[in-house]
């Protein structure tokens, strides 16, 4: 498939003549995913796991088929290692409460990186405070990367849990998660990988990584909003207590006591987002049809071009690693002396959608000495023309402010 054909698969890109550069926040959806969701409601909508009638059985089947598809997609050993959630945030909260709260003791340490999204940070503040353990940070160097030395110094015998984002949602840095996992395991700690910003762009193999947990949101990889995944090693998930209590996660309920269902139902209380699960399954089909190799090739071309073109604008400050290989499809920048919110508004009027703000990473912003940035994030459906439009809009924004700068 070439880029023109790919773009035709995304109706929103046809219906709105916009340059969408905010895929790091949420991706647009291909017609295939939209159709699969429609098909679900038109043909086999019922509450899975509950009905003895064939329609409900069919819904259950599709739901469980998708679980197996996801297990296969990220190379998990068992389908029951895949737990459906609302999003990466809920998956991380599940781990923080069900694993962290029960396993952390006074003087233990949780180590995360300074580039974590609030969702992999605020839950750990709460859990460490409540358990009397300590939250410490791996910091980044001048290249916006976590050095090997930092990994070795921060992950120690005291460390029990390490939380790390695979790709930074602000800097685009691809972290050396393999090194982090190796170091953590050598010290007896478990590792949670936040793959929200990586799985849309690169193949994930949980067995090869040997991570203990991995989380991601569907909507950042072509699926609908409101569906997320938690992967956990079976032996760890089995030992954990349920997170949310309610229907379908139980075995026997008495007046005062309850026994819980086995994996994966133990962690899926209440009627689930079946539409989201079906949509996520369809998104995986679509990604596999294009192929990660092709996705990588398309994105590399665009992101390298964007790095090059944006570097030519001397009024811009770019916050990205010099290493092209350690950098994914996210570019944060500021026009010197102009607030990113103003830049984003001016870009918007010129048909270019970028995000501005702190990107749910306030500690990182503070560490870098900034309040906020503009962020352009790319996906395989973006083109060089999108980059050119961004550049022209940035030049317009700069020229508007330039004459008032003193």
């Amino acid at each position: 498939m070439n880029i023109e054909e790919i773009r035709k698969d995304f109706p929103i890109l046809e219906n709105n003549k916009i340059t969408y550069l905010d895929s790091g926040a949420t991706t647009q959806k291909p017609q295939y995913v939209i159709e699969k969701i429609e098909e679900f409601y038109q043909n086999y909508n019922a509450n899975p796991h509950r009905g003895a009638y064939s329609l409900s059985m069919e819904a259950t089947e599709k739901y469980e088929e998708t679980r197996a598809k996801i297990a296969n997609f990220i190379h998990a050993r068992h389908p029951e290692e895949i737990i459906f959630s609302k999003n990466a945030t809920e998956s991380l909260n599940l781990i923080a409460y069900s694993y962290g709260m029960e396993n952390l003791k006074q003087d233990d340490e949780v180590v995360i990186s300074i580039m974590e999204h609030h969702s992999n940070l605020v839950p750990w503040q709460k859990v460490t405070k409540q358990t009397g353990s300590k939250l410490s940070y791996m910091y980044i160097n001048d290249d916006y990367e976590i050095s090997d030395k930092e990994i070795e110094e921060k992950i120690t015998n005291k460390t029990k849990i390490v939380g790390i984002t695979h790709v930074s949602n602000v800097l685009g840095t691809i972290n050396n998660v393999k090194k982090i996992i190796k170091q953590a395991h050598s010290k007896g700690a478990i590792v949670i990988v936040d793959a929200s910003q990586s799985i849309p762009h690169m193949e994930i193999n949980v067995q090869d990584l040997d991570c203990d947990f991995l989380v991601f949101s569907g909507h950042k990889m072509l699926a609908p909003l409101g569906i997320g995944v938690l992967y956990g090693k079976k032996e760890i998930l089995n030992k954990m207590s349920p997170f949310l209590m309610g229907g379908d996660m139980i075995e026997y309920v008495y007046e005062q006591d309850t026994t819980f269902a086995p994996l994966p139902n133990k962690f899926e209380a209440g009627t689930q987002n079946v539409e989201g699960v079906i949509g996520l399954g369809a998104a995986i089909d679509y990604i596999q049809k294009i192929g990660y190799d092709k996705i990588h090739q398309l994105e590399e071309e665009i992101v390298f071009y964007a790095r090059e073109e944006l570097s030519k604008l001397d009024f811009l400050e770019l916050y990205l690693t010099p290493s092209k290989q350690n950098h994914s499809g996210v570019i944060s920048f500021n026009i010197k002396g102009v607030h990113p919110h103003d830049v984003a508004s001016i870009l918007d009027v010129n048909g270019v959608c970028v995000r501005s703000g702190n990107h749910c990473a306030q500690p990182l912003m503070r560490y870098l000495g900034m309040d906020s940035t503009c962020r352009a994030s790319f996906y395989f459906y973006n083109t060089k023309e999108d980059v050119d439009k961004l550049v022209v809009a940035l030049q317009k924004a700069y020229s508007m402010f330039k004459k008032y700068m003193k």
Binding site: D342, V349, G357, N358, K406
Partner: protein, 155 residues
Amino acid sequence: MEDLTDVYNELIMEHSMNSYNKKKLSNPDYSEMGHNPNCGDEITLELKLNGDTIEDMAFSGHGCAISQSSTSIMIDTLKGKTLEEAKDIIKTFIQMIKREIISEEELEKLEDAICFKNVSNMPARVKCALLAWHTLEDMINKNEKGGTASIDCCQ
């Protein structure tokens, strides 16, 4: 929004980039911080009264062009007004931004602050334009109630 200069007009740009109201007062009677956590706009307003009249005001902080210029132009507009007049002008400004008042006649009392009228066409920027006005409104209300606690958030 067709033309950006409807919002980023001369007056707004000048005040946002080079405001003479961005300074510290030597001994203010009141000081109040306001912020929009989502965009990171943060201002501290200082107020000096002479009886019931606003004798002087100044601000410090950082944020986008809209929030900074709106603060500066609000200060120009309200200096020399009584607290009652100020409250009325604040109310009118908020109504203008929320498109509850559109008649030019009613908006005349806003003086230069009328230049923010077109911000009402940019919903994403409404909070930026209102930050200073809400902060001052809170400061006056608190003062009237005799309270002294500082509030740090205006939604």
